[in-house]
Symmetry: C2
Subunit: 703 residues, 2 copies
């Protein structure tokens, strides 16, 4: 079954059956019927109800199988206990898509969960797609049709909105009718048993009536599929997502630094970043962004010209631009000279252009035209405050007219005020100029669009590097560990795994007694580091489980015994395998490189400043594996450590290429082996350019 082709049918059906259609006002089956008819759907409508008769002028069929012609979409609004049988009938009938409004499935306990599983099996068996269950329905304003029990049908527009919360959807719809915000598609995701957010993202991406994609979700069904869908769509259309549940998921037990530093929301945040999605935390302000999309071209850069008739608002706008990642354009000298020659001497001709409180429509015209013409300007913000001599409506008309000659550059208006601005705002809106009441709102909307273009341009077709690796060796170690009924690897095992992936490590060997420790030390060469070898002891230095810089066999012998004694004293119940004998790496910049595993998105790689204070310094950043070299490079440079590694205060730059390699190799390792649930290298030492890195302490936990 091709889901996308079926969604096309769902979006533009020729016939719709409403199973559970009703004549009784207040019943959902009645709401759906009325919406369907009122929305002007031009295809065939088949109400289905065992009572037969007629509903809202339409002949009723006793069951879907009684319908004489093909049915593209069936909307199901019957009690949950009848749903499975009906779905089976729909399958037999050859219905392409089901919209199951009925609740009482996964959300209602074990029985519902089982029923929902069967729904999916039936969908697969009959090659149908299912939206829902437990949803509000679907609206396509361009079909047009409204197959939902919503109160009203949205205004036609270009925003496609999908929501995991039906109630939120209802609220937004009601609000949008008042605010006159239009939608192309309005999809209630419900339980996402079959069709999920990724399916709709892809479909919205192909939909010619949609130019802006907006989602409200609390979770995604399949992280990988979601990211692929987003990456496919982002080059053409922006995707903005409100993802809630940040604070609800709560803490989970984690034994590694990476695990404890990656909050429950980190994987989502990272996935959005990596796939070009803009995340929003404020529903209302998103519609400001959406309002720009239809009116104007996307900005080709972040250099903004501000034109104002008052200083204060000009400064506020400048501040807002800086906070939003927009820059004040530096005008060409030509623009500067032109403005100087044509504005009053008291006017400020630098950016922001202050055309003074006396500014007339033709002053606005010449400032706007000069700014739009200037090659150093990517977007223009026009501010107007209602002063004694201000001609608000005439100024609005001028803005609309000038823009027609320079349609390629975004032009936004901020007309500050209330009643006196109502008419000028209508002139602007009708003329295709987005207009706002306060500068912050305009700047926020422009900034979000600009950031979308940056995210979009960052998406590149780049290969995932593939390094040579000894996977057999890793498999064998894991098998040994499992045989030993452990989940935490010993230091020597973890280091061997790193070596199998050609990750540079300080070599490590396990000594079970002090004699063995001495001979291994002779072999590795002095000075030597000793570490307690126990999967139960995570933070070894906290209990005196590490000794460094041991220079002689005698020191190693004493050290061995001290460490064993200290472990016995502090953690008498820990299972101790002996002491790891390790060659002492030359000190470098301390890094941490780690991996935890997210339920939805898989391996989440962390990079940052290492050492014992990682949890307090929190100089870290994240990427999902697998990664490209660009990902690895950006991951490093997002941290303060990245800046230090690039060489500051006269220091030689560190070997960033080797660090990238190490990150990429870890990314490959954790992608190859799903059983790795946590991995920490802390510290790895980074050396000068050309001298590589060295992983000093590698910890691995398997699931």
């Amino acid at each position: 079954m091709n889901r996308q082709a079926s969604i096309d049918v769902l979006f533009n059906p020729r016939s719709i059956a409403v199973i559970g259609a009703s004549n009784t006002r207040g019943k959902l089956g009645n709401d759906v019927m009325r919406n369907l008819i009122d929305s002007g759907f031009e295809g065939r409508i088949y109400p289905v109800n065992p009572k037969a008769g007629e509903i809202l002028g339409q002949k009723v069929f006793r069951s879907v199988t009684d319908i004489p012609r093909d049915v593209d979409v069936a909307v199901i609004v019957i009690p949950a206990r009848f749903v499975l049988k009906t779905v089976e009938e729909c399958g037999e009938k050859g219905v392409k898509a089901l919209v199951i409004i009925t609740a009482g499935f996964k959300e209602s306990g074990h029985e519902g969960q089982e029923a929902e599983k069967k729904l999916v099996e039936l969908a697969e068996k009959y090659e149908m797609i299912i939206q829902g269950p437990n949803c509000l329905g679907i609206i396509n304003t361009s079909a047009p049709y409204n197959a939902s029990f919503s109160a009203g049908t949205p205004v036609i527009g270009t925003i496609a909105f999908a929501s995991q919360s039906g109630a939120l959807m209802t609220g937004i719809l009601d609000w949008s009718l008042m605010e006159k915000i239009g939608f192309s598609k309005f999809v209630s995701l419900g339980n996402k048993a079959h069709l999920d957010e990724a399916d709709f993202i892809e479909a919205f991406g192909r939909d010619p009536d949609t130019s802006f994609i907006l989602l409200y979700i609390e979770s995604v069904i399949d992280g990988h599929k979601f990211m692929e869908a987003c990456k496919k769509v982002i080059p053409h259309k922006p995707i903005f997502i409100v993802k809630s549940g940040v604070s609800v998921a709560g803490a989970r037990a984690a034994s590694s630094h990476t695990g404890s530093l990656a909050g429950s929301d980190t994987a989502y945040e990272t996935a959005f970043k990596q796939s070009g999605v803009r995340r929003a935390h404020n529903m209302a302000s998103l519609f400001d962004v959406a309002s720009l999309i239809d009116d104007m071209q996307l900005p080709s850069g972040n250099r903004v010209a501000i034109i104002t008739n008052a200083g204060g608002p000009g400064i506020m706008t400048t501040d807002a631009c800086e906070a939003g990642g927009l820059e004040l354009a530096q005008f060409t000298s030509q623009t500067g000279d032109y403005l100087k020659a044509n504005l009053p001497p008291a006017a400020s001709v630098a950016n922001p252009i202050d055309a003074l409180g006396t500014a007339q429509p033709d002053d606005y015209e010449l400032c706007i035209e000069a700014s739009l013409k200037d090659e150093n300007v990517d977007a223009v913000l026009v501010l107007l405050t209602p002063q004694a001599m201000t001609k608000t409506t005439e100024s609005a008309k001028v803005i609309v007219d000038v823009h027609k000659n320079y349609p390629d550059k975004p032009l936004l208006a901020v007309f500050m005020g209330g009643n006196s601005m109502v008419y000028p705002r209508i002139v602007l809106t009708t003329g295709g100029i987005p207009v706002f009441d306060f500068p912050e709102r305009a700047v926020h909307a422009l900034s979000e669009l600009y950031k979308y273009t940056v995210s979009r341009d960052r998406l590149k077709d780049e290969e995932i590097p593939k390094f040579k690796a000894d996977m057999k060796k890793v498999e064998k170690i894991f098998a040994d560990v499992r045989r030993d009924d452990r989940r935490v690897l010993l230091g020597s095992e973890a280091h061997e795994i790193a070596e199998a992936y050609d990750i540079p490590v300080a070599r490590i060997r396990l000594a079970t007694n002090s004699e063995e420790a001495k001979s291994l030390s002779d072999e590795l060469g002095y000075p030597i580091v000793l570490k307690i070898a126990s999967p139960d002891i995570i933070h070894k230095s906290d209990i005196g489980g590490i000794m460094i810089g041991l220079k002689t066999p005698e020191e190693v012998e004493t050290g061995f015994n001290q460490i064993i004694d200290s472990a016995k004293k502090h953690m008498p119940d820990a299972k101790v395998y002996g002491v790891d004998v390790q060659e002492m790496a030359e000190k470098g910049k301390e890094l941490i490189i780690g991996c935890s595993r997210d339920v939805q998105f898989g391996p989440l790689i962390m990079f940052g400043t290492g050492g014992i204070f990682v949890n307090y310094l929190k100089d870290i950043s994240f990427r999902l594996a697998p990664m490209t070299r660009t990902d690895a490079s950006e991951l490093i440079m997002e941290t303060k450590m990245g800046t230090l590694l690039s060489g500051v205060r006269g220091e030689a730059p560190s070997d960033i290429a080797a660090i990238e390699d190490t990150i990429l190799k870890i990314s490959q390792l954790v992608t190859d082996f799903e059983e790795i649930v946590e991995l920490d290298i802390n510290p790895a030492f980074a050396y000068e350019s050309g001298k590589g890195v060295s992983a000093v302490d590698v910890k691995i936990t398997i699931g």
Copy 2:
């Protein structure tokens, strides 16, 4: 002259002269006259114009001196060149307060600046107060009177608003009329030649008609006076300030770390924090906060109960609470049991309480009442989405009614939707319940009010500690440095000053030749640190100007020569005084403690993680001097270093008391000596509790 008493007259005058009153529509003198009459001012109005006659039914006087009775306030709207003479006449006449609307003073160049200075002299001479010049005027809705050229008079309310931008004020006024937001006072600050923001803050603080103070400023006139006024008012009323010009002030040259890390806006940010002011970046959202003040008590804590009829919006609200520093209340078991017994079994009785889509007004009632009763709840947020069975208006009525029985706890409503919510929202607003369309707005407003209470409670009457200090010695050193025509002190001089204030330092002596270096080393004791002594060389380690750990006289001799050679090679033009010989401090945690000086606010103290990477790590925080011990303690704990100092990962805590002392002594030093423009201690080493700190490298620049 008592400014505050005069402002009382300005706020509630018995008589107002309008000097420059005019019969001509469109002239400011006409606008002011009309506003004054239309606003319903009940005192005497005296239009003044040399042409005499009658204006809007009022007899015109040729000059202010012709007015037969006393004049409390004179509004001046005549051309700038006549202003000084008129002000003199007002002075002779005994006018108490002038509102100078006329522009063409400081903002218009040198001549205007001089005229403005004379204005102030006249004000002082005649014991008058002056608002402006170059302003819009003043409005007091409770007097009532409008002595401005604004288009319209604001609705009566309890927000006092003062603005440095007249145009912004005009825009806000127009907008507020549409949004029905009321004001008590509306003050255009203009050039702030005489009365400044601090005067009005104090007056608003005493004004019984004001409960919320809102300012738009681009700068303050007198930092100390501003902070004192805020501290006086904050215990009674919140002050919210939009301070713009963040990005405009631009970079200034700074040779110290502190100077370069303190951005142009840092002093403002710090002053706001230290005096309890809440800073805002978004005008519109401030009015949400203001709207709460009249309706409800301030929250006594941050524990919020959320009641909803839909899961999604409940989660969004939970997220917004967490982001805004609010916590979800943990209900008492009593509340939990009560809810469980009275709500449908499918309802969620933990916080957020999900009363389900079927929730009726009495469900809302019982949830709200239970939450308001619960001792673990500080505020209640009620969400309502328009679902099939939702009774919006009845639910609104219930909310209003329940609140009457529990007036002490903040109760906010979020009714999501548009047209269907218009009437319920009116019910709520009229019933004294603040209502919002999206949860984020409600949470933001509540969170801002809660944060105000935190800032307010933090303000304590605490003494500035005073340490013994040898000020004479410091004066002498500064005199020597000036005689030497220097501004940057040598290391030995800077360390001596620190010693004079009993700041623990590693002792330092200046050696001008290698023999002297050796004998000083013998005196201080080995190991020894050598540092180039040159006021021209700021970052000594970058040019090989520092050698550490020299253990013998021979090493000191070689070191001395190497340092001198290296300085000659890298900075041949630097004036070199020799080499500082310093005792080597035992290594501790590296701190930076510094001071730069802000034009408005004076000494700005910085604390944070020290070392050569301060500019990259940016683990720093700021306070203005003079400081209390609480300030010093908070300053430390705001940084990540603060956490490390308190002892983590099994480390012993550092000597935080000694660090506080050091910060307080520096605070005292830079307060005592205004000529210190920059001071850096980097690093200071912090040792274990009881073992103090040691300032290793002290740099001082005088102005």
